[in-house]
């Protein structure tokens, strides 16, 4: 049986543990998957930048021994766009929560996808605002509770993968914190992809989301991911959330196109 292994080499050696995350939180699992993906690709720590916005997921970069930047709420992709254009040789990984990426940062998300800029965007989707106390997010399902939806959410939820696809991302994948090995591989493919890649990770928030919606503890929430998702091969049983690679197409990335433009511009007066 395959199992995941912690990789201490990529963690910052001192000061920053224990983490800020609650017991049972799934963000650490996503962090572990990112580290294992980086390790599997044998990437130099010096050539990796991890950029985040605000929220529980925004705290992720502090723990890893890369070039790390915790920016403002919703704008991580815009900061990353500038960095990638200045340093095309670096792998820029952007980690965001669902509110960060799709509410306050929704505009930057669709435009980063439209540009197809060579960034890897990992969206930790726990369907709630964790750090601020369980408010509704743009991915909270209709009928679910949040501290600002005490009578149930009445707004439709965003489908992150569909938005990414419709906006032009070259690579879109989805997995969950239950499927940790699959997640490692999907993130590795996302990093390797030339173009904008989005990996949505359904993640348990037992404290913010779980308690309000009687989902049970973290283990129960992980079991729910196991029982309610299906691999993206063949016929999809109704009511199941599809996992795996959802989009993988070859369209020129922004940096690649800009480098061509630089060459052409020099020939013109």
């Amino acid at each position: 049986m395959e199992y995941t292994v912690p990789e201490h080499e990529y963690l910052r050696p001192h000061k920053k543990f224990p983490s800020v995350w609650c017991a049972g939180c799934g963000i650490g699992t996503v962090l572990g998957a990112i580290i294992r993906a980086v390790r599997s690709l044998n990437l130099s720590k010096d050539k990796i930048a991890m950029i985040s916005g605000i929220g529980c997921t925004g705290r992720m970069p502090v723990y890893v021994d890369f070039n790390t930047m915790h920016t403002t709420h919703g704008r991580a992709l815009a900061f990353a766009t500038g960095l990638k254009l200045a340093r095309p040789d670096m792998e820029v990984i952007v980690v965001m929560g669902d509110g960060d990426a799709l509410a306050i940062g929704g505009n930057h998300f669709i435009h980063a996808a439209r540009r197809n800029i060579e960034l890897t965007a990992i969206v930790v989707n726990n369907r709630i605002y964790g750090m601020t106390g369980g408010q509704l997010s743009p991915t909270t399902p209709v009928g679910d509770r949040a501290t600002t939806a005490p009578y149930g959410q009445i707004e439709q939820a965003f489908d992150i993968a569909k938005i990414a696809e419709a906006s032009g991302a070259a690579f879109v994948a989805r997995s969950t914190t239950y499927h940790a090995i699959e997640l490692d591989r999907l993130i590795a493919r996302g990093i390797q992809k030339k173009g904008f890649s989005v990996i949505e990770v359904l993640t348990q928030c037992p404290v913010g989301y779980g308690q309000l919606n009687q989902t049970g503890d973290a283990v129960e929430m992980l079991k729910w991911f196991r029982d309610n998702t299906t691999a993206a091969r063949g016929k999809v049983p109704s009511g199941k959330i599809v996992r795996g690679v959802l989009v993988d197409c070859d369209i020129p990335g922004y940096v690649e196109s800009y480098q061509k433009l630089m060459k052409t511009s020099k020939k013109r007066t």
Partner: protein, 383 residues
């Protein structure tokens, strides 16, 4: 235009330049490597010029989805090692405020060009104003230091743009170049050659990565900044941080950092704040002006001198940090200080504060999208 300037232009000793284009050319001369912006009147010519000029020089131009994204990308490019800038006007400048605070807190150099137009709100996109003076100082939340420069001629706009990049790198701070619609869109004859300004780069650390602390107070007012990807892996956060860049809530660490953050600007006011004085030797009445309003002020001063009135001009080239000592000196000898501005009195209050009640301070204000005229200023000079 006089015959002599026309002749100078014909001989190639002068050029007719537009203010916005002087800024764009100044940015390139200052080492600009990355420019991101969003279309807005009256700043557009800067982006139009740079979208053509930058790729040829190996630089990056990108039109972002809004002004928030523009300044965010600029900060990202700056930590990637490029000198980076954006240009905007009132509404866009309002959107940039959060990122200005971020750049100030994490001490990443960047240049923000704000071509002021009449406001608030959409206001008058084609009308000049100086209504963003206080926003440029305090627009973002929380206490922070800032440097703001105000050119009043096209030639000076070119020079100050280079200077803005230099100050930004030298002090690890966002620098705002505050111009206005009049200066941005007028064309005037600029003597050639253009001013030569020494270009200052980033101070790199001399220590190996394991000894490097990006916010180390022991390194002086401005610790060296190393860009990403050079083997110095460290953390940047808008949270209060310790010397290594990690979040902290310890008051002793926060106090020491804040103290240095302010000291690096406020402790260097004499070096940073440029003031120009004209006809001040015997001046009894003094006009304190900045930006394109200083042009009307100079005209008014000359008219007054012709009428044998002892009028002088103090022009604020740097408005923030505010040069309190220079204004207090003026206040000690002047019978009256007149402060013309295209707003309802923003620098006026600073002049009143710095004067410490030693003289009469009178404002000449309008915020209707028109320039303050020399006649208005002369009227305020009448005793």
């Amino acid at each position: 235009m006089s015959n002599s300037t026309t002749t100078a232009r014909r001989r190639g000793k002068a050029r007719l330049m537009q203010g916005n284009l002087a800024i764009a050319e100044g940015a390139i001369a200052g080492g600009l490597g990355f420019f991101a912006s969003y279309p807005i009147t009256p700043a557009n010519e800067i982006a139009t010029f740079l979208s053509r000029a930058l790729p040829k020089r190996g630089g990056v131009f990108i039109q972002m989805e809004d002004e928030i994204a523009s300044l965010s990308a600029v900060i990202g490019a700056s930590i990637g090692g490029l000198k980076a800038a954006t240009a905007t006007s009132g509404p866009g400048f309002s959107l940039m405020q959060e990122s200005i605070g971020y750049a100030a807190a994490v001490e990443i150099p960047c240049v923000i060009i704000d071509v002021q137009r009449a406001g608030p709100s959409t206001g008058m996109p084609g009308g000049p104003a100086q209504g963003d003076v206080m926003q440029s100082r305090w627009g973002t939340h929380g206490d922070h230091p800032i440097i703001v420069l105000c050119p009043s001629s096209v030639r000076e706009a070119y020079e100050l743009t280079i200077h803005a990049f230099n100050l930004s790198e030298q002090y690890r701070t966002p620098v705002i170049l505050l111009t206005d619609e009049v200066l941005a869109r007028m064309s005037e004859t600029v003597e050639m050659p253009l001013p030569q300004v020494k270009v200052i780069g980033r101070l790199h650390p001399e220590v190996p990565p394991e000894w490097y602390f990006p916010y180390d107070n022991a390194e002086g007012d401005v610790p060296p900044l190393v860009s990403f990807g050079h083997g110095y892996r460290y953390h940047i956060t808008g949270l209060f941080h310790d010397k290594s860049g990690f979040p902290t809530s310890r008051p002793d660490e926060i106090d020491a950092w804040q103290e240095r953050l302010f000291l690096k600007i406020d402790g260097n006011v004499e070096q940073i704040a440029r003031i120009e004085e004209e006809e001040m030797e015997d001046a009894e009445m003094v006009i304190v002006a900045y930006g394109s309003t200083a042009r009307s002020a100079r005209h008014a001063m000359r008219q007054a001198r012709k009428a044998n009135k002892r009028v002088g001009l103090v022009r604020l080239v740097t408005i923030w940090p505010f040069h309190d000592a220079a204004i207090e000196r003026v206040a000690r000898s002047a019978k009256r200080i007149v402060v013309p501005e295209m707003n309802r009195g923003q620098i006026l209050r600073e002049v009143e504060r710095a004067s410490r009640g030693k003289t009469d301070v009178v404002g000449v204000n309008r915020a209707d999208g028109e320039m303050v005229t020399p006649a208005q200023i002369m009227a305020a000079l009448e005793v």
